[in-house]
């Protein structure tokens, strides 16, 4: 279960990091290109620390590379939100903001974990995620309260991605186990922070908060959207074609 829990956190970071790296060289302006790839780098760095720990927890000789590059889709434990396609710049910003608000509160709670390694990763990562949340919040406001076109694109992205937010707070067996053992976080606490932050920023952005309807779930159990397969095909190609490469 500890392995499962660590992988949930690591996989979110790796998959979102990979998704963001798709903007490398394609950002709307140079500063945003650099900002998004910086965030990608932070996330991939966090994933790396977590995979190293997961490999140690498992104790079966697998390495961080094996965990990132040699698992198949159904073995990934990330939430569905982070694997959604980058879309236009607005889609990427909305996806990032919805996740950052969760990620920030999640790490804040994880700092109190009884698991010293997870607490250390959380403290380190929280500093980075603070910048991420600030960046994505500012852009949600700028584009939401921008031109008629940018506003419409943001609202569309928000409506499309909303169905993937419920899963962030729906406890998996690993979440439950971790909470009961003082290792994990209380997702209800995280949810409270998230709801306040999201509603505050959307209001400033003049965007309408969608109603909670049917929520898509399954990522934490390995049931993914079709998009994950394409990500893995690209991300794992090198390691599968030329086995034994290292980070």
């Amino acid at each position: 279960m500890q392995l499962e829990y660590t992988l949930q956190i690591a996989d979110n970071a790796l998959i979102l990091g990979h998704r963001l790296s798709e903007w490398c060289g394609h950002g709307p302006i140079l500063e945003q290109d650099i900002a998004i790839t910086n965030i990608a780098l932070d996330l991939i760095g966090q994933a790396r620390s977590l995979y190293q720990y997961a490999a140690e927890v498992e104790g079966k000789g697998r390495t961080e590379d094996d965990l990132a590059y040699l698992r198949i889709g159904t073995q990934f434990r990330n939430t569905l939100l982070v694997e959604q396609p980058k879309g236009n710049f607005g889609t990427t910003i909305v996806r990032q903001f919805l996740f950052d608000a969760f990620h920030f509160a999640f790490y804040q709670e994880l700092c109190n974990s009884k698991d010293e390694t997870l607490a250390a990763v959380a403290k380190k990562s929280l500093k980075e995620v603070t910048y991420h949340l600030r960046f994505s919040s500012e852009w949600v406001i700028r584009l939401g309260d921008g031109t008629a076109e940018s506003h419409e694109k943001m609202q569309t992205a928000l409506n499309d991605l909303w169905a993937y937010t419920g899963e962030l707070f729906k406890a998996s067996d690993a979440d439950q186990w971790a909470l009961e053992n003082g290792i994990g976080v209380d997702l209800e606490v995280v949810k409270k922070f998230w709801e306040e932050k999201v509603s505050e920023i959307l209001k400033m952005a003049t965007l309408e908060q969608p109603a909670d309807g049917w929520m898509q779930t399954g990522g934490k159990q390995g049931r993914h959207t079709e998009h994950l397969g394409y990500i893995l095909a690209e991300m794992q190609y090198l390691q599968r074609a030329y086995p034994g490469q290292e980070w």
């Binding site: 500063e31 650099i34 760095g45 380190k124 910048y131």
Partner: protein, 163 residues
């Protein structure tokens, strides 16, 4: 000659940061400890500035090779995450070197994690010392820097972010 910890620390002053070569790894505050191992050899404990800092592997290699050139081996470099690195650990000497190099050093004061729209700290232009500057982007050429521009002399410059 008996090698002491002081010798080791002295030698580490010569190991530059690969991305900001005017700074040594000691100026940056990323070397946390030096230990003598029972089976001879030494261990240098470092901590990353950012989780994804691509320079860390390079730094470990540089530490090993500089020490080995001085006849100190085997050297093991271990990376720890806790306690998390902070710009408060940067030395005064390091801050001065940064400014001379054209990068504004981190403004002192602890990292306020809660503040989402905190008022920007005043960052002085490293060229003309004007405090009339503006942030262009929170993210700069490396994870540790933000991009600023001076309203007085118009020069763009890097700011080493508080962390």
């Amino acid at each position: 000659m008996v090698i002491t910890k002081e010798h080791i620390w002295k030698i580490l002053e010569e190991v530059p940061d690969p991305e900001i070569p005017v700074l040594s790894v000691l100026d940056l505050g990323i070397v946390r400890d030096v230990k003598f191992l029972d089976n001879e050899g030494i261990e240098v404990i470092i901590t990353p500035t950012y989780s994804g800092c691509p320079a860390m592997d390079m730094i470990a290699v540089n530490i090993k090779s500089v020490l080995q050139e001085k006849g100190i081996h085997p050297v093991r470099v271990t990376s720890v995450l806790h306690p998390a690195w902070t710009t408060e650990w940067m030395t005064e000497e390091g801050r001065r070197k940064l400014k001379d190099y054209g990068i504004a050093p981190p403004v002192k004061g602890s990292f306020d994690k809660g503040a989402l729209f905190a008022s920007e700290r005043t960052v002085e232009c490293p060229q003309c010392n004007s405090s009339d500057t503006r942030m262009v982007s929170q993210f700069g050429s490396t994870p540790c820097k933000a991009l600023y521009q001076c309203n007085s002399c118009k020069e763009p410059f890097d700011y080493f972010k508080c962390h």
